[in-house]
Symmetry: C5
Subunit: 180 residues, 5 copies
């Protein structure tokens, strides 16, 4: 038995029982569609593989897509709108970073210090998620997405092992030239 | 089975078992009427749709309405009084915000830094809730409110699905003119 | 079923199962007498009605009365002694506050910033509890106190509803003259 | 049923079910011997009665005794060594403190601000535990210690009440001459 | 019954039930291979015995080995890459430290203050783990490692006690010359 802790759309702290590890993402999707979130956004934002960006299921982190009145693609998370930005690959002597897509917003007065990142000048921003490198994980896709592999239903009917399987992850953030 | 974590009116940390997701708001109302709260007030305050303001059920967040000796409408939350303020719509080149109603109080010496907001001069305040934009959600209303839709009792008697349904939410806070 | 989280007299984090909401205060008294506490002291201290001060059951918050070698009445909470102070009513143009009794101590080097309050000069102090205004709640009294109403045992024998009842609370802290 | 939350020797957060309050210290000893800890060290360190110092069971807080290569008695807690210091009684006009034994170490760069205490000059230290005043509690002693009272086994065989009993505690820290 | 709290690779807070203390490391390995972590990295990093470094099972803390494009051995933990460094023994008048292996990375803007350590100049870094001194613990090794002792399967078939056994730990960090 598993138990997942959420913060609801009303800000309440609620734990939901989950039958097994293979049901976990399903429960996250189900409550994430209501705007419930689990855990805090990691400093610098969630990291996902770039190939997951086109059909990423934002419900997994309690967010949803939204098109603003100017027709821009945005993502809403806990009532705040994050703008989509494409970052080109960096290949300098000091830094090597593959291309990425980043969802971020301007910092607010009530954002704690450790989530703020500096941009040009005095401008500060907060990142929700960054998609960069790595290998695509179908389990992160919107269910039924044409890009995702055949669903579980098409697999042989033998009982799946409850034991979760290791999965590829996003490319680690690399810092070249650090002195240690 | 769900489990909701409260801080009681005596400051104790108490978890209450809840039979299913459809009973959650009922349990929040029941204990909220005692002044029990779940989770922390989000930085910048709770965000609700403006159309929920007239009959909002403050028990949902452990608060209650109160009229002060001068006849002003206020809301009490964890022993502190918040004053009701109407904010006009903003429609400038830098910012576009629909009309709102805000409940706030002056900051106290013991308020942590991340909940304080700056007003004119050195004055700082703390927001409990802001009602702005969005689409009304009947489930946030005081039970039996004439403005709310027909209650569940008038629906067909077939067992309701335990699975919660997605719901419209308050309008996201938009920042126009941010450089990313 | 309820579950209450304590910090024991040895600093351990322990959760205790409670049969129902009507047993909660009993469990708090039982473990509070051992010096176990639940939750953190609110910034600015617990707020209780003034009429509860004479026979307040300090075990409810894991504290106990203590008379120091100089014969002064004090309260011990988590190994630290708080001194009793009577505050006169304030009725000025800027502030209106009813009479109160406060239990406080000088700040220690290891007290976090958000619990410290400024007094005259550079002196800082920390408040455990303040009793001010409000309507007396018998359930906060030492069991068997002559001032408390007839105990539950003298009530008719029909099963009490498990649902907790709303209760009067301490007077909210009012800030007159705040500009919002 | 009780549940105690530990941080294991590998830093994992693990909760252990405990049959009743009378089994709690036994479970703390059992896991404490593995270096598991529950809760955080209180600011200024744990407070215990002075008479418990000679045979204190350090396993209760996940620590253990250790003699360093120079033959000094130390205590290891979460991989850090604390040195034993005897403090003489203070009896001045400003401060009255009974004799004590303190276990402390120099502050490290990664210690948070609220656990650091100032010594002479710029030197800062962190206290694990201070033994001062109070009345000895046999339940804190190493099981089988000759100084401890007769063990439970020698008591009459009637079932012990599950309800825990109030116990004497360490002398509170007194601040003389505070202006409130 | 035990319960271990994880943060999943998606940042969710999930608790997993564990049958008994003897199954705990197995569960940590199983979920750690997915990048799930339990608890926070201690300030200054995890401390392990030096002899555990060659075949340490990084899954125990939700990390994994990774060789970067330049052929360097690194460790990935929560999407960040840590570089391996060998530290020579220190034997000066002020400090005595045995040889060690350290895994660390440069500090990022969003790292909280208490995990940052100062290096030369203004450079700051964050340590994931340090292997120094102590006595090797086979239970920390990759299962099936040739350096590990014979596995449990080769032991007599009598039921193992559920009670966990004390185990040797890494050498404590010693500060010579501290004035207390």
């Amino acid at each position: 038995m598993l138990h997942i802790e959420f913060v609801t759309d009303l800000g309440a702290q609620v734990t939901v029982d989950v039958e097994g590890p293979d049901k976990l993402l399903e429960v996250q999707r189900q409550y994430g569609r209501l705007g419930w979130t689990s855990g805090t956004v990691p400093g610098g934002g969630y990291q996902f593989p770039l190939d997951n960006e086109p059909d990423f299921d934002w419900a997994l982190i309690g967010a949803r897509k939204w098109t603003n009145p100017d027709g821009e693609e945005m993502v809403i998370h806990k009532g705040l709108a994050y703008r989509r930005r494409e970052l080109e690959a960096v290949d300098s002597r000091k830094m090597k970073l593959p291309a990425a897509v980043k969802y971020s917003r301007g910092a607010r007065a009530t954002d704690p210090e450790h989530v703020r990142e500096k941009a040009d000048g005095e401008f500060e921003y907060v990142t929700l998620a960054i998609f960069r490198g790595g290998r695509r994980q179908d389990r992160y896709a919107v269910p039924g997405s044409p890009r995702a592999a055949a669903p579980a239903a098409s697999q042989p009917a033998r009982p799946a092992p409850a034991r979760p399987q290791p999965a590829p992850r996003a490319a680690p953030e690399l810092e070249e030239g650090t002195p240690f």
